[in-house]
Every structure is written in structure tokens, then in C-alpha cells.
Symmetry: C2
Subunit: 186 residues, 2 copies
């Protein structure tokens, strides 16, 4: 989740010099804008869900004056690529040896499973040890079904996941991994 | 668009006694919840996009104290049904003879076209003359390409669209129309 004044975002700006100050969310928004422009895919980040408590209309302009962040029950990004429904989330961890599953809400895991069951593609993009990984939803669900652990070892992410190298356009070409996994014959 | 204190919503509550006080957005959220529960489809309304200007943390709880509504560049609802990407919006008009195209932003029309081009299904659900209609994106784009008019005549909606009758579960079974149009062989 990306709270506008949260610490995670600012911290990642400090540690990740390689991406020139762009955090994971910005890199993905930039990549999605590139995919849209080049007519490769139509994928957007969903707005942050908030609960509006109070609004005012000074000078005839509607202003929200009290609202709270809500916990999302779906993943942050979705859209369409090559006729397929795409649904994913971006996660960062400072942990070096494992990815804590507390980063994913139970509702989000259930959503991921449902998307796959209905014929969509779901995954996480994980920023960890200063590297970007694509980890497919099937591998996440398989890990959870076969382990009691509350975190996914980094070794599992290295083995099952796919590193996405930072580049210029698009910054994180995650659709290349989807081509590899889901459209190999093309 | 559904501004929390907009007039449209309250007005539709007054005129549309038949749906027992539920406006179009509530009817669709209810239908989507039913589809989700019965494992028929995974479709959600996107949160309203807002621009957060100011937050505070009284008693250690993060509160948004100043924010504005933003104009959405996509449609409000999306998800997956039967392996297909679904993307649509809900619109109400008090106009009896035609549906003003000013109800749809130019960005939203472009988005609709892109979704269809990439193999998805896009449409509008229109509440007009106290009736609910499914109007397919292809018919909307075809109308715009072949007409100079700034509104779609009600006759066109009656001819090309499909009426969705209010019922108990789901309240508005719009997937039935998609079955008819896109999964006829089943």
C-alpha cells in the first residue's frame, strides 16, 4: 500500500540509487504508461480506496475535508494484455532473507486465487535486496499450500521468480515475463 | 461518476421507487457481490480517484484532511468473467429522448475502444426512462463514428441495447447479456 506520507516510499528512494529516485510504484506507473502509449497493453493502478467522512464546498468547489484510508480487498494493478486479464500488486521489503507474508492481506491472496481460477494472470512484483522480481500467483499459492511458514524464503523467490532488470523503456518490462510464461508459442 | 454528495444519486432515489431506494451504483455493487459469492465472476468498482493534498495523524491515526476528486480516465468497473476481461461504466440520465455523450469523458471513450481492441468486453449500463439498458461498446463507438450528434437517441439504445430487468439475485444480471453476445455457443 502506498500511503502518501508513508515511510516505505521515502526509504526506498534513499536506498535505491539505481532507479534515479523512482520508487516501485512510480516505475510501474511509468511502465504502464509506456505500454499504453505503444498500444501493447491497457493496465492501470487502481486509486487508493478511501472512506470519505466529510466534504465541503468553499467557493463552489467540492473539497474532501475528512477521509480515511481503507484496506484494499483486491490488488493494486489490473487491466488487459493480449486478450488476457492481468491483476497484480507491487511489494517492497527491507528483509534480506525472506518475504513476510504479512505484506499481503488475506483478502488479497483469496482474490489472487479467484483471478487465476477464472482464467486470469495474477502475480507480485517484489523489490527485495535491491532487485526486482516477478513471482507468479501460482507459485505463491503453491508455497502457502505446502508450507506453514509465515514468509517466503528469498531462495524460493530466486528459484521460482524471474528477475526484471531496470531499463529505460519501459523501466520494468514485466510483460516480457508474461510472454515467456503464458504466450511461449508466439 | 459518483460524488458522495452529488445530486444525481439522491434524485434517482426519489424517482426510482421500483428499486427500493438502491441507486444504480448500489445495484451494481450488490450484483457484483453476488457474482463474487457464487464464484461466477470477479468484478469490482474501482475506488473514486482523489488527489490527496494534506494528511494529519491525530492520536496516531492517519487522516486525510484535504483532498479533491479527480476526473477518471478509465471506466468505473472492471474484472474477469469466463476468462474475458470486462470493463464498463454505469450512467444515469434524466433526459427522456436521448443520452447526452457529455456523460462520457473523451478519455473514457478512448479507453473503451482500447479495451475492445485488446480483446476485452466493454459496455455501458444506462438508467434512462426508469429502465436499465446494456449498451455494448461496439455500438457506442459505431454510433460516434457514424454520427455528428452529441447525444445517442433513446431509439438507438432501445434498438441496439438490451434491457436488464430488476430482479432479486443478482439485482441486475448484466452477465446474462454478455453470455448472449459473447458466449452464445455455450
Amino acid at each position: 500500500m502506498n500511503y502518501p506520507n508513508g515511510n516505505k516510499k521515502n526509504y526506498s528512494k534513499l536506498v535505491n540509487y539505481a532507479n534515479r529516485g523512482m520508487n516501485l510504484e512510480e516505475l510501474l506507473n511509468d511502465s504502464n504508461a509506456y505500454y499504453l502509449e505503444s498500444d501493447k497493453a491497457v493496465i492501470y493502478k487502481k486509486p487508493t480506496p478511501i472512506q470519505i467522512v466529510e466534504t465541503k464546498t468553499p467557493n463552489n468547489k467540492l473539497v474532501i475535508t475528512k477521509a480515511f484510508f481503507k484496506t484494499p480487498s483486491t490488488l493494486d494493478y489490473n487491466g488487459i494484455y493480449n486478450g488476457k486479464y492481468i491483476d497484480f500488486d507491487a511489494k517492497e521489503t527491507m528483509n534480506k532473507t525472506s518475504f513476510p507474508l504479512s505484506n499481503i492481506h488475506e483478502h488479497q491472496l483469496l482474490h489472487m486465487k479467484k483471478v487465476i481460477d477464472h482464467g486470469g494472470i495474477s502475480f507480485l512484483i517484489i523489490f527485495m535486496n535491491n532487485l526486482y522480481y516477478y513471482l507468479d500467483g501460482n507459485d505463491i499459492i503453491s508455497f502457502i499450500n505446502n508450507n506453514e511458514r509465515k514468509s517466503i524464503p528469498y531462495k524460493y523467490i530466486q528459484e521460482k521468480g524471474y528477475e526484471i532488470k531496470l531499463q529505460l523503456k519501459p523501466r520494468l518490462d514485466y510483460l516480457k515475463i508474461i510472454d515467456l510464461l503464458y504466450f511461449k508459442e508466439n
